[in-house]
Symmetry: D2
């Protein structure tokens, strides 16, 4: 069996120093499995905190890091029916989450946390753990879809599907927010984006944002956002990435029966200062925790990406596989705009 | 114009003493209005706290109290098309909430708080503020539907419609909870109910509860409830009436992608001890504030009540119109089981 | 009471000669009614066949013709809450169809057939029979929405809401088809259009059609359309305006579980040659008859039109109110492209 | 490798004589596969016409017949995660149809037609081709679920989910119809059933039918059914098994926006006498072809069967595996009531 290069997180006590680059065996394909030559990977905030031992969900060590990957099929098992050699694929984040609501077993199949991830030259995946990539995108672009894009899509389509003419609010310029902006515009919605800099505001407008609010200048931006909506009725969908500060404003901005999707925990929220769940009654709204999404949703999303030729926003700086640790440091330092990608092969 | 008897809340500073029983004019019908001879009314927790000045939503004084009523049409305006003299009707709680999501104007049309309510012999209502009553129910039974029953129905059908085989959890023996139990059983769901007494547990089982948990004996009842569900996956729909104590358990009981409907604030919750909205992410669930419901939902509900011959649970003690103040006292003392009703005419 | 000009169809036996232009009284507003100064009207195929006695649904004579209108509020009744003087409005086609499924009474409230329509200078309508117009459109543009646009929107959103990335097929260049094309593109869908001329094909492409098939050159266009869809899986939504010939091709083009919306009967179909309903089993698809749509859908649609600044395609030739009969003749001769409009005031 | 008994259809030209009973090898399990000791099978109309060469969908010969089966897991492949030895399972009809709309490849994976079916002592299936059986049912009862029950469930929940209080119409006493009756009653719906005999009418009432119409005595039963619905508005869901005669009546009975599910072709319909698809416009209704259903729907259905302790109606006469050909003859002669079952092991 041939060998390959692979990153491994040996344990969760050493931060990025725990990331080790070494030789490994290329795994064998089983009946329903597919060997993928990985071409690109992208990093998420989750990837950064796993080696720091701060990730609040299931992990297992040692593990190959990397939640997101894209590549090309080089071999298929004897009973694989939907993929063949040469197909371009992207990985599914929760390998076991096929459709509908996630269940407990599937919630323990996250790539790069429990199951070996994408920071290696080759990987074997169940056929059901892969989807055909978007045919309008490069491998690097496709590698940004499994976590960030799918979380955003799930927020917009997983509970109350977004309709043209509704209003979506996204916060900041992280991956999920930018995908949310792009998906919402492609779907005929109005988008309000928040940011802290005039420069980023320009980029958000170029991506199609109808309104951009500088949340440093307008501390009460939730009310401002509400006033920008048709008849001041409020925002239909909020992609909430922040924390207690943003949450308070999100409750001001939301429409009756609107949905606030909780998709992250970047803000390091003090549990005592975030709004309580009873506030959903006073605001007659819905709050939903969104944990990435199913393979079925990912296939729908890719269809939409192709039809609208949506291109993910990828940071100009792309790292090579052997530079993965530098990529982690770069992203940790918040030097990126959009998704941070690693060219694997 | 003939006169009638009517209760009025003159102001919000005098508690139940602020409830005054007096003579009033029977109002005239406009083109699209209907004169209803009210036959029954029922009380809600909301009705109790309005004269105490504790109701957190819009009010206007003086106002005829009574959120819920049922009666018979005695006269219709010249352009009324859907109702005629002799029709039995129930009142819609938010008179302006016709269908879909409630909007701001409609949220200010609650009977007995902003608009004159049901504790009077006659009332004029817009045709769109009435629905034909359930034809299998008495006027007293019909008078229990506008708030409690519709809130419960909205919780089960307003966002993610309940399906046969799913699990519903209801808390205690208040009106919303008992309707939730009855609706869920009629719809082929499994019902878990919580209560604090063996006697009430018996009644809950008679109403069809599949499992009853005594929350005083089992402080960790949320986990117990989860274990009772198929494959221990958790509860699909929780009707949350309580407060911070129950909320913590509800988060333990809920299934991934399940819905916790916030329908009350009985528990006098300390905002610092209730779960924060970010907990929806850790539990991958949805929390929704439910504010009664639309006329469209009420019509669907009545159809279901008729088809399944569901009879609301009404306390044995029924008061007459002139005894309304005693009824408030009786309910405040928590002497009732099920809905408390007042015979109006 | 002031007088105005109005068209009337005296009876259904005289074709366009039965259209009479005369003086009439401006009607009075009731409590819940609104007096509208009509500014524009647009014609539908339905309007043409009503005076010819060929319309298969309910009619009543004499009747003011005109299914579609737009104008400005000049007076409101004492109990109107949602509209005020100066508001721009469009008429709802089935005045009684407020939300959800249409019912039998509402199906008998079509403007210009049973209820007096838009070809007059002033009209009184129930508040619920009007919607605020799209604020990005002229009165003439708004007057094209009530029938054609809403039918199209209902087809796409009334049963299985269209999602970005899905495929929509529209036939020809009639009003419903062009709106379908515009709505689908705004919503991020792929659009396949059929037509019989290269010139019209160009116009369809300018409106955003991804693929245009000349059905005169490609008699088996249904299969061609299917091949153009992702993985050749077929079309998700077909707006079927035609008749037995097109239906046979639509069944070839449709995806499993796709929806063929039957929105017209232009083709003069021989019942013996159209596909039978059992063909839905062989093709595992759904066929739905679409009869315009509700006020709730119309409000959603207008929100989408505003958000995406969609402008209806209106024929270059616009008639004045006194020329209405010429407008009927012009449209009957199929000289138009897009909607044919009449400037009323 | 041990041997077993198995039926085989050698070709499609010999009718039931083409059914051959012989020895076969017990197949080996692959990585993601499961060896099932089949305990019961049940027959469908489809099974009868496959050996007669009359089945209009894909087949492949030789093939082990039997669309439906239930049994016990005796061995699992190394990568199976959701099933273990001893689990009770039922087979999925279209082995490849996991969730959502069926696609072309999945439509070619029907058991007993393309893929070897259930009339054998042992079978190997992909893990995804099995579901855990209903824990309240015997193997014989479970074996009736894969085609008939799931088709019925798909009709009621696959497009417009049935709600309590709606009206369902089922025709005759075939398997799909009886499941439809039972599911609808468990879900709180009103059920109208049609039959041709007083004796069967009694059985239908015992199963919960609210109304039974004898279609031989009441040729215009569609109108009768409509009158039986609340406010005469019509039936929400019709499970159409019949043919042109029943279809005409179904169109009379259906409610505006109601759904007629086409689930069979028993009536030997003359394509010229069935209603055309354009009739959906005149009746403002939807017609949907239903082809069994997905694994996701089957799991939902089993949850509902368990929660409501629904027991399939199985004909009193149960055959043994070696008598399978007699079972075919018995069913062909229409001697059965409910599902016809075969005890396999």
């Amino acid at each position: 069996m041939a060998s390959m290069k692979s990153w491994v997180i040996e344990n969760k006590d050493n931060g990025f120093d725990g990331l080790v680059y070494k030789d490994a065996q290329i795994p064998k394909v089983g009946d329903n499995e597919v060997l993928v030559k990985l071409q690109a990977a992208s990093l998420n905030y989750r990837d950064l905190i796993i080696p720091k031992g701060k990730y609040p969900f299931a992990t297992k060590f040692p593990v190959v890091p990397g939640s997101d990957g894209a590549g090309e099929v080089v071999e298929v098992g004897s009973k694989v029916t939907g993929l063949k050699k040469g197909d371009k694929v992207a990985t599914l984040f929760n390998q076991g989450h096929q459709y509908g609501a996630i269940d407990l077993p599937a919630a323990g199949t996250g790539l790069g946390g429990v199951i070996d991830g994408s920071l290696r030259q080759y990987g074997v995946f169940a056929e059901t753990g892969l989807v055909k990539s978007a045919n309008n995108l490069s491998a690097i672009e496709n590698s940004t879809l499994p976590c960030a894009a799918l979380t955003s899509w799930n927020a917009l389509y997983g509970l109350k599907p977004l309709k043209p003419g509704q209003v979506v609010l996204v916060q900041g310029t992280g991956g999920v927010s930018l995908f949310g902006l792009q998906f919402a515009k492609a779907a005929g919605a109005i988008v309000i984006a928040t940011t802290s800099s005039a420069q980023k505001a320009e980029k958000l407008k170029k991506l199609g944002a109808d309104h951009v609010i500088n949340y440093k200048e307008d501390l009460n931006w939730g009310e401002t956002a509400k006033k920008l909506t048709p008849e001041g009725a409020g925002v239909d969908h909020i992609l909430e990435v922040g924390g207690s500060g943003t949450l308070t404003q999100s409750f001001k901005a939301i429409k009756f029966e609107g949905v606030i999707s909780i998709i992250g925990f970047l803000g390091g929220v003090d549990p005592k200062t975030q709004p309580g769940v009873l506030d959903t009654l006073g605001h007659i709204c819905t709050v939903r925790g969104v944990y990435v999404g199913s393979r079925a949703l990912m296939q729908d999303m890719i269809r939409a990406i192709e039809a609208n030729d949506i291109h993910p926003v990828v940071d100009e700086k792309v790292f090579s596989l052997d530079q993965a640790r530098e990529a982690y440091e770069y992203m940790w330092g918040q030097n990126h705009f959009g998704k941070l990608a690693i060219k694997v092969n």
